[in-house]
Amino acid sequence: MKPASFAYLAPDSLPAVLAALDEYGYDAKPLAGGQSLIPTMNFRLAQPAVLVDLNRIPELSGIEMKSDGGFTIRAMTRQRDVERHGRLPAIAPLLAEAMPLIAHPQIRNRGTIGGSMAHADPAAELPVVAVALGATMHLQSRGRTRTISADDFFQGIFTVDMASDELLTAISFPPWPARSGWAFLEVARRHGDYALAGVAATITLDATGRCRAAKLVYLSVGDRPVNARRAAELLTGESITAGLIQAAAETAATTEIDPAGNVHASAAYQRHLVKILTGRALHLASQRAKGPS
């Protein structure tokens, strides 16, 4: 099918974008990479009256390193440019592991980091990584800027804490801590398909080898990135053992996720996947946290 007609604005400055969003409110949609918005418009599931194209604003793209080891990715940075960034495996190994799982190379060539975050598909990888790494979202509207944690930003299916006149301009990530391990695992029917279930796991050890902090965040098994706090707390302060990993996987799979089931996977199968993937992810993350022995 073809999109319904709309008015097209392609401002060449951020203030002009913010003025347009202020003027048109809910009738306007920012157009980032378009890899979710345009198919939705092709099927007429979305019919925005005004599209505000963000592709002519260079200041919305790029990755900035901070002196403390953290970094900021501006919203219009293409997913492919993040994936290819030479320092990514060192500064954010979890993000590096997740990038190739996002759709296909042709989609990542256009798709943007901010577009995926603002779209907030519960089956998407990037929102899960943002929650797992404790990222901060930077929002801007005419005359106002604010920040919000990734945890609070994602509010439900395709729903984020962002007003109609606000634009997500950047996402910043804290420094990757020492003695930390990670794993991003998912099960999809074909490479690049939406995952039936997936998990981002991080583990940070203290000097004695006990778990100082852990996170388990899931995709495709709830209405947003599902942060399994109770399962992660089971690990905190403990030495990571196979039995403990098993207990955390059980807790996450039985009490913390809310899979809806779909044509490809029943809710029971999604719970099964979460249990298995959590076990594998925690084993891998704890090995990586210990480093090469």
Binding site: S5, A7, Y8, G34, I38, P39, L51, P105, Q106, H191
Partner: protein
């Protein structure tokens, strides 16, 4: 009715200036306005890869871009790969040689996916080739001969 916008682009080395409605997809612009019907349209939701073209040298889905967004950008379609049938691109030759196409519907998108992939990774493994092809559906040839074609090209390139 939305207003027309000027689109100045370059397709296969040729400058093209047109007035377009913003809702016109790049794929439809290429096929219906410019008449380059080698770019095929399958799903119009980014799943099949048939409409893949190069925008500034990078493979993208032309059904997931509005034509107006190609303003000031350079497009390559399958018609831009070879001057005529006697002087095919080496990758097209390899497809011919290894029977890597039957109906040909997916072929233009696959060629345009593989060209930047091979420029970046001239000696890919079979696994890497299959991963590069993951965003392109082929329903009749099967992927084995397409993988063979890529391997043949990389061998010939030495």
């Amino acid at each position: 009715m939305s207003q027309l916008h000027e689109l100045a682009t370059r397709i296969n080395g040729q400058d093209i200036v047109r007035q377009v409605e913003p809702r016109l997809l790049l794929s439809d612009f290429i096929r219906h306005e410019v008449g380059l019907t080698g770019t095929h349209v399958g799903c119009e939701q980014g799943g099949c890869g048939a409409c893949t073209v190069l925008v500034d040298g990078q493979a993208v889905r032309s059904c997931l871009m509005f034509a107006v967004q190609a303003n000031d950008h350079e497009i390559t379609t399958v018609e831009g790969l070879a001057p005529d049938v006697d002087n095919l691109h080496p990758l097209q030759e390899a497809f011919w040689e290894t029977h890597a196409l039957q109906c040909g519907f997916c072929t233009p998108g696959i060629l345009l996916t593989l060209i930047p992939f091979l420029a970046e990774n001239p000696r890919p493994t079979e696994t890497e080739i299959r991963e590069a092809l993951s965003g392109n559906l082929c329903r009749c040839t099967g992927y084995q001969h397409i993988v063979d074609a890529v391997l043949l090209t990389t061998r010939q390139a030495g």
